[in-house]
Symmetry: C2
Subunit: 182 residues, 2 copies
Amino acid sequence: MSLPHALLGLLAAAPATGYELAREFESDLGRYAWQAGHASIYPELAKLAARDLVRVVDQGPRGSKTYDITEQGRAELRSWLLHRSGDGVVRNEGVLRMFLIPTLDPDDQRSVLTAIAEETAAAEAELRERLKGGTDPRCSPRAELGLLAGRFGLGQYRATHEWATRALEELDARVADSRRPN
Amino acid sequence: MSLPHALLGLLAAAPATGYELAREFESDLGRYAWQAGHASIYPELAKLAARDLVRVVDQGPRGSKTYDITEQGRAELRSWLLHRSGDGVVRNEGVLRMFLIPTLDPDDQRSVLTAIAEETAAAEAELRERLKGGTDPRCSPRAELGLLAGRFGLGQYRATHEWATRALEELDARVADSRRPN
DNA sequence: CTCTGACATGTCAACCCTGACATGTGGAGC
DNA sequence: GCTCCACATGTCAGGGTTGACATGTCAGAG
């Protein structure tokens, strides 16, 4: 249950409508930190507003409401960020897959590991390109969030790629080993 | 909703009771792949049994039931592992915190980043020790799951540590920068 | 002027997960 | 023999999440 804190964090960087927040979750944030759809975001914003952690600061054309974080909201966010217990909710389908790879036979293992190696290489390259491409054309106030997070993603992709590559090498070595000595 | 596949994967490595599976989720698996408590495991095992993906192969003393995966279960697991769409559920409170660090003022940022750097270094060392300590005293059939997964964890910890260290350096540089030139 | 698509918000049933409650057994130590 | 603890399974209410349904507006292309 970290959705309220995710929203507080995004609003701490810049005011936004629920719609804009929902789109934020579709990019890097949702890719490796926390997912949320508009169906959970709108009700959560209402709840946060009721607790005075956020506030509607503007009402635009299409019934849009722009939210901003309040002082109390900032205090809540800060306390959540500082009192990290080290653990928390972890749920990652991709990592689970990696855990279970050894249950496959060698050919299938190779196929999955190869796919992972390729995907992480591509993802890393794509992300690196995106980060290099300046701090966004529109120089958003969330650029710094994106920069730090992006570099984190880069490191994760690289580590995963190296892991998969090494696993592939060992797999090949083991197969070669079991074929030869008879 | 990958719990059924997590269970199929564990059972593919070796038959086990629900209780043993629940403990499996308390270690590395639950730490960085997928969490589950016995309250969701027991009902899920019943559902899997109803779909003939697992089967009760033994009933022990304290009303314990040992489950094993069936041929259909193996097929389902394999298809899930091979047809990776690249994405899936991602929910990680720790990573979310990292995303939101830039919303803090420099002093708080330093404190959080330092904590992360220390924790990841400690976690890496502890994990490395555990992996080195032989392939388990009891040479479990799940040892290989643990080895590959453990090395993955090692890489992630290291990458995160390096990321935090670099962020700290830049933070210091920026603070020094803004203090001097006036 | 019409149509399309992005903008924008909302609800609801179904499903999943968590924490608390509930129950009972077998072995080891005193 | 008793007591404690790990073993072992289960249910259930409350809360979070998802996907589908529902509605409506504004701007730009044709």
